[in-house]
Amino acid sequence: MKSDITFGQYVEGNSVIHRLDPRVKIVISLVYIVAIFLAKSVTAFILLTVSSAVFVVMTGISPRLILRSMKPLLFIIIFTAVINLFFMTGENPVFEWRFIHIYREGIINACLIVLRIVLLITATSVFLTYTTTPLALTDALEQLLSPLKKLHVPVHEFSMMMTIALRFIPTLIDETQKIINAQTARGADFTSGGLIKRGKALVPILIPLFISAFRRADELATAMECRCYTGGEGRTRMNTLKSKPKDWVFFFCILLLTAGIVLLNIFFPLYTVLK
């Protein structure tokens, strides 16, 4: 019943990547993701793998931790690999047995697609989830999207909602555990019976949880109003984001990398089979 819930995946650290401006990190990860999708030839993938490895080393986070973040996606990775392996047709058959035909192109393609997924996960882990706190991310997103305010998109309000939600997730998890304990102490049983019985068993947990969440929301709203919160208009911040030269250097490197990928695709199109 007791579970260890650490919220988010942020890993405390003080590396260059940790200290990058979160806005730049969001833009960098978008560009890097585009680069990963642009890569077609094996040479381009080699460049991406090397650069990703360098980034991982730069964060100082153990590679094992990054591998662990792929666990939930293991099924999808294996599934795509198998599909590519068996259904890709080509010119160089490697193995044939009854209805199974495996071609060299299929093998290479399966490997590259798996590599692509691994690179995507590594990139988001390295730039976003592992090195940036969820709060910094929301802040950065608010500022990146602030031009949309001109179109009357309530960017500040959305970001405030996100921030509050993030703040209360651990509190609610704590509270859920307490309520589960209290009902278990009265003999509630959540682990036996059919679907309907188990669904019903959740009522004694959900109702107190909702009530307390509404109570908290109400108290928070009152507290915010007491301090004259009226929304985003004219609001200043305690921590303003400033991009420093190293942010721009990093950004420039990623752009160079992307250009490199395109050039490798064109000039060294080794095994370019990805469709």
Binding site: M1, K2, S3, D4, E175, K178, I179, N181, A182, Q183, T184, A185, R186, G187, A188, D189, V203, P204, I205, I207, P208, I211, S212
Partner: protein, 289 residues
Amino acid sequence: MNAIEMRHVSFAYGSAKNGPTAKKALDDISLAVESGGITGLIGHTGSGKSTLVQMINGLLKPDEGEVLLDGVNIWAEPKKIRQFRFKAGLVMQYPEYQLFAETVAEDIAFGPKNMGLEKDELDRRVREAARFAGLADDLLQKSPFDLSGGQKRRAALAGVIAMRPKILILDEPAAGLDPAGRRDILGGIKRFSRESGTTVLIVSHSMEDMAMYCDDIIVMAHAKILMHKPTAEVFSDWEQLASVGLDVPLITRVAAALIENGVDIGRDVYTVDYAVGKVRELLGENPES
């Protein structure tokens, strides 16, 4: 036989289990609580009181050691742990937040229903529990969310009493109540214990409350048990209590000051009535007058 017994129980929470910050919430705890009495459990915040009481009804499982109720190891057959939850009823801290049903009566019936009890017996249990907890009959058909704070607390207490546990454990039952509310709820618990013979374990911060209602007291400090003695003896050891950041009842402090100034009132003073009698005796007055 001992109603509750713990033998060398140790426990650490998941997040504190390994690594450099490993810290035990319970460290080699052994204790025995006799049947029928009211035992107090005191200790500074974070000393492990809530953890200890959750061991007794099997909400938490010891990393090492055993927990026995009436001489039976509760984890001998983990599948049957539920029967010990009914045997040792636990009222958690701030239990008013666990209420969920449409009416107070239904909420009180939740525990007994989980035991498999039916209509008539349920009704009887609800009524009886409400009476012990001091809930008026006309409140039973109300929504629990319409009750006052103190009434909610009592409804939650009734929900546990209705299971007729042989052992009733209360985690800070009087926290956040005004003096009248504290007296009501603790008085009700004492009456319930005396009438039904239920063994009661009360966790509390308030030395005054403990002195008033408990037969013996367990003192915890830093995940260990510091002492377990009859109430009078615990408070007579005020130097040791102070050393772990605990206070003694105000009247005991008065007695301590008197002793320091050469008035031999005795170290076993912990209720005002007793102190008044003692002072009269010293003054040579007739205690009856």
